[in-house]
Amino acid sequence: MTALAWLIPAALGLGALGLVGFLWSLKSGQFDDLEGAGWRALDDEPIGPSRAVKHEAAPAALP
């Protein structure tokens, strides 16, 4: 029974970690464009010089 003393907090902690992770990804706009995200994964075009340079400057979360 004493194992419960740390098993339950551990389970809750892991769950909370998942929850925080999800809320964070939601907040950073990763669910804003589900349709587009699917397509972006398929975009295997070699990134051109102009795109490569400029993409580094792109902010992480744009609406």
Binding site: L12, A16, G29, D33, W39, G48, A61
Partner: protein, 737 residues
């Protein structure tokens, strides 16, 4: 996100409203553009690349779900959006700037998803603790451990209920304030009572604790709510994009001959305007100088451009395909044809707003029944001489068992399964209650151009144009935005010929294109322009090389390949079919015959279409309107349900419940079949949910329902209902096959 969306309250002269931020990389501004025809990942890449290649643009990110692109530019760069819009136009996209007042709306489902996540976390963990408690029942679990687990559950449940339950409590409170009862009233009552009672029981160390039931109830209900909200917000953002069609800045010529750019909203009738090539007409106007070809597909749905000369009317939202023209404003803002059509559409839509959804109809009967049952249980136990505590416990058990968990899931779960199934076939259901209305349809009204036909001109397949002439014509055509020019380029590519743009092509407004290839002057354009005499009344472009005889390219608007077959199937399924078109009667008659439609009307104005639909509805028919042009928008809004192809104008897509992709008409059959199946599934789901209630409510009233039984009953009914819905996504529909 919110920061980028907060825009300056006023538009400075000739500039765009935009956020200016001073960062480490220097001051930047974020501009939102609506890109009308961005439909896939390839488009998204093209849009981003086209924008990033411009000087001063530091970032561009397209959002396919909303059809917008956010562009970050250095604040030092040009203050107007014209270079951006122009670059997109060269890449083949129609873009316009989103008006500042439209950009403040945030996708509304984020808040609900946060609540759903919290409820999901809580439900899972409380269920874990509860399973441990049930498993330990009658075993060797000490009472102290059980109480501790209950306290832990309470610790998770109480904040969760307070946070995740808020949308339901707010909705219930609003309904009660208006002296009405909605589905949220029994939900709120059940959840609050169950949580409160469980808390009380926990303090007394009792076994009757319902935290798991209360929280998982909220979790299931929030799923339904999120699905619902998502469909709604998509529709709202499409409507907002429409505002972008009205261009925000206009070039006006002052009395002293000076021209300047002013915000469109400050244009007043009588002002002299200059409309550049490729620009949208900002207000209704009358042409004063120049001739032009206008793309009026937004208004009429016809792809064939209209030739206008001095004195002709220009409509707000149409595009100038030729050189710059001068015009005088005749009607502004609320008085334009575009605004008029929007108004017609909104009025027509109000009637549809009165449709009572299946779930709401069920709630109307269900909510009072639940309250009466709960109350009579409470009073019954008191009357039998038991204490208030025992009576309340029994009443809560009744409320939890009857809590419309399965009922609230019954319809959304089915809808999501049906919508997912349709989505796989390239059909997007936009209106949350669209499927329910589609299931009741008995009459289908179709538009011609763009619905029965593909809606874009095609070089007539029979025409004997040799490859050399076609290649040369395409070399000229590829610099033009004219639909016929585009058709020539397409035909050239289809024959596997390479299109090499000719150098120094000259565009003569309203006439055609001119260039010199290998020392020979070549022309592509109207009959007059090319020196041809016999122009038959048939869409054509003429081609002339040097002194040779002019050659004609004829165009047609082909029927969708399966149009006739689809109409035949729909008729066999018992639908009444009608064709309403704004095109000339002779053309409409030909199409009607080819598709086997007996009821057709031609030369109709948007208002006529609307009246015809109203008449059909008044005669007791349930009408499905299928159309694509802006002229169809009021009719689309008036129909009991409406469907539009993805090539339709944005306003028509906004007015439609369903949008289908691809060159076929078959999605129409699929949509109707799935809608009917979804209705059957929703009804059988109600049956299942009510069946569970009939089984368990008597037990709950007798007070022999333990938390274990309550939780099992609730979960099984929810799971059965969901499984029934999932099955809809997979089973074969005979009508669709």
């Amino acid at each position: 996100m919110a920061q980028a969306l907060t825009l300056a309250p006023e538009i400075p002269k000739g500039a765009v409203a935009a956020e200016e931020t001073a960062g480490a990389a220097g001051a930047t501004r974020t501009i939102q553009l609506v890109v009308e025809n961005m439909r896939c990942g390839g488009c998204m890449r093209k849009v981003e690349t086209a924008l990033l290649d411009l000087p001063g643009v530091t970032a561009a990110r397209a959002n396919l779900s909303t059809g917008r692109v956010a562009v970050v530019t250095a604040a030092r760069a040009a203050k107007t959006t014209e270079p951006l819009i122009d670059a997109l136009q060269r890449a083949g996209f129609k873009a316009s700037e989103l008006p500042p007042e439209g950009t403040t709306v945030e996708p509304g489902d984020r808040d609900l998803i946060r609540r759903l996540a919290v409820a999901g976390f809580a439900a899972a963990n409380i269920m874990l603790l509860s399973v441990a408690v049930w498993a330990g029942h009658g075993g060797d679990m000490p009472a102290s451990l059980q109480t501790m687990m209950h306290w832990l559950s309470a610790l998770i449940a109480v904040p969760t209920v307070a946070y995740a339950g808020m949308p339901f409590f707010a909705s219930a409170a609003a309904a009660l304030k208006m002296r009405r009862i909605n589905m949220d009233v029994p939900i709120s009552l059940g959840v609050i009572l169950a949580t409160g009672m469980s808390l009380y029981q926990t303090t007394r160390g009792s076994e009757q604790v319902y935290f798991d039931a209360a929280v998982s109830l909220l979790f299931f209900l929030l799923i339904g709510r999120v699905l619902d909200q998502r469909m709604r917000s998509q529709a709202a953002s499409a409507a907002e994009n429409l505002l972008g069609l009205i261009s925000p800045a206009t070039t006006v010529v002052r009395a002293d001959g000076r021209s300047e750019r002013i915000p469109t909203r400050s244009v007043t009738p009588g002002m002299a305007l200059v409309i550049a090539a490729g620009e949208r007409v900002p207000v209704d106007a009358r042409l004063t100088r120049g001739t032009a070809e206008m793309d009026e597909s937004l208004i009429t749905g016809e792809t064939r451009p209209r030739r206008v000369g001095a004195g002709d009317a220009l409509f707000c939202g149409t595009i100038n395909l030729s050189g710059p023209i001068e015009a005088v404003a005749t009607a502004c803002e609320e008085n334009t044809l575009l605004a008029e059509i929007s108004r017609l559409m909104q009025t027509a839509e109000q009637a549809r707003g009165r449709y009572v959804r299946l779930a709401d109809r069920a709630a109307k009967l269900y909510a009072p029944a639940v309250h009466i049952l709960g109350l009579s249980t409470f009073l019954g136990w008191l009357w039998l001489g038991h204490g208030w505590e025992q009576a309340l416990t029994a009443a809560i058990a009744v409320l939890i068992i009857t809590c419309p968990c399965a009922l609230a899931l019954a319809v959304p779960a089915v809808q999501v399964a049906a919508v997912g199934r349709l989505f796989k076939h390239g059909i997007v259901v936009k209106a949350p209650d669209g499927l329910e209305r589609l299931a009741e349809i008995d009459t289908i009204v179709l538009d011609k151009t763009g619905t029965l036909t593909l809606g874009e001109p095609r070089l007539e397949p029979g025409s004997r144009v040799d490859s050399a002439a076609l290649t040369h014509a395409a070399a000229l055509a590829c610099v033009s935005r004219h639909p016929y020019s585009k058709a020539i380029v397409r035909a050239c590519r289809e024959r596997g010929l390479a299109v090499v743009p000719a150098s120094s092509v000259e565009e003569i407004a309203g006439e055609g294109l001119k260039a010199t290839i290998d020392g020979v002057e070549v022309r592509l354009g109207s009959a007059d322009f090319c020196g041809a005499s016999d122009e038959i009344d048939r869409p054509a472009l003429w081609w002339k090389a040097g002194t040779a005889t002019p050659l004609a390219f004829h165009f047609d608007d082909p029927l969708r390949e399966d149009a006739a077959a689809t109409i035949a199937t729909l008729k066999r399924l018992g639908y009444r079919i009608e064709l309403l078109s704004g095109d000339r009667a002779s053309v409409v008659a030909g199409v009607a015959q080819a598709c086997g439609i007996a009821d057709w009307r031609g030369e109709l104005k948007p208002g006529n279409k609307l009246h015809r639909i109203e008449a059909l509805k008044a005669a007791g028919h349930k009408v499905l309107m299928a159309g694509d042009g802006l002229n169809d928008a009021p009719a689309l809004a008036a129909g009991n349900a409406s469907i539009a192809p993805s090539t339709a104008t944005d306003i028509s897509q906004t007015a439609s419940d369903v949008i289908f992709q691809g060159a076929k008409l078959q999605p129409l059959i699929e949509t109707l079949a799935v809608a009917k199946a979804a209705r059957r599934s929703a009804l059988s789901n109600f049956g299942i949910a009510i069946g569970y209630n009939l089984l368990f409510v008597p037990l709950a009233m007798l007070g022999i329902v333990t938390p274990l039984i309550a939780a099992i009953a609730m979960s099984t009914s929810s799971i059965t209902v969901t499984a029934n819905a999932v099955w809809l996504g997979h089973k074969r529909l005979q009508e669709a096959s």
